[in-house]
């Protein structure tokens, strides 16, 4: 493999593979719903239906994040995610590299 190919392969790895992007997208989708519900509830705190939806999605989100992190490492810092050895937090891809 010449140097350009090696460089491309490195970039490819850094950017994550298709499965990574697909599973990340699922989390981005549910997180979008949660952000929307969160902002809505900030100005509509008495909407029981919205609140139930928020709590249900928050529960599902926890499960999805757990499965994602088992495969790809921690999504959040400061003890909100677990890491295998060696410390996975510093692994690529960072969000702008995806």
């Amino acid at each position: 493999m010449d140097q350009a190919n090696a460089e491309n392969a490195r970039e490819e790895r850094a950017a994550g593979d298709d499965a990574y992007r697909r599973e990340l997208l699922e989390i981005q989708k549910i997180d979008f719903a949660l952000v929307e519900l969160n902002l809505y509830l900030d100005t509509h705190p008495g909407d029981m239906q919205a609140l139930q939806q928020f709590n249900q999605l928050a529960q599902r989100r926890k499960q999805m994040a757990h499965e994602f992190e088992l495969k790809y490492g921690p999504m959040t810092n400061f003890g909100n995610s677990f890491s295998r050895f060696p410390w996975q937090w510093i692994e690529t891809p960072w969000p702008w590299q995806v």
Partner: protein, 189 residues
């Protein structure tokens, strides 16, 4: 306290290297109505706003940092494969001279970000109206940016951000009504 999530709020794709468009996008990075201004404006106003509006300022302010990261990602992806000649040709020669490919909190004309862009009057309604206006201005800027590119992948990310400005403005309008109603109620006590 904030924690970081190792993901973008919405996927950012670009279909070509385009430093010219990156230059225009800097308006939303370090410009007056950009995402840095938005995040800092809302989070800073929290300390003097009535309690009923602190939640919405905290959450929208936090979301703005996610938008700042999306804009940064767009600029990064649009410039990372550009050579020096391309930087010079699109008017980013002076940026390159000072920063190479590093990002900087400057607007599309290279003017550095300043705290003078953001307001905090201490009057809750004045501050919330300021925030509504800021969201509307950002929405308009996103529309101009969408009109300036034919890159459909880039447009997709920009359209997401444009829509968020609309939702934020709506939530701030509701916060205005909540504070007004709260004041009315207190008058009768």
């Amino acid at each position: 306290m904030w924690i970081y999530e190792k993901k973008l709020q919405y996927p950012v794709k670009v279909s070509k290297c385009d430093p010219r468009m990156a230059k225009f996008l800097m308006e939303q990075y370090g410009g007056a109505d950009g995402e840095l201004s938005a995040a800092l404006r809302y989070l800073n106003q929290r300390y003097s706003i009535p309690s009923k509006a602190i939640g919405i300022l905290t959450d929208i302010g936090t979301e703005e940092f996610a938008h700042l990261e999306m804009i940064a990602t767009m600029i990064y992806k649009l410039t990372k494969d550009a050579d020096v000649e391309q930087f010079i040709q699109c008017g980013l020669g002076s940026h390159y001279a000072a920063h190479d490919r590093a990002l900087q909190y400057k607007d599309s004309n290279g003017v550095p970000w300043t705290a003078a862009y953001i307001q905090a009057k201490g009057d809750p309604l004045a501050d919330l109206y300021e925030d509504i206006a800021a969201e509307e201005k950002a929405r308009a800027t996103y529309q101009w940016l969408i009109d300036m590119t034919d890159d459909v992948d880039l447009q997709d990310g920009l359209k997401f951000l444009r829509e968020r400005e609309i939702v934020h403005a709506m939530r701030f309008r509701e916060a205005v009504e909540i504070i007004k109603a709260d004041r009315e109620q207190k008058k009768f006590f």
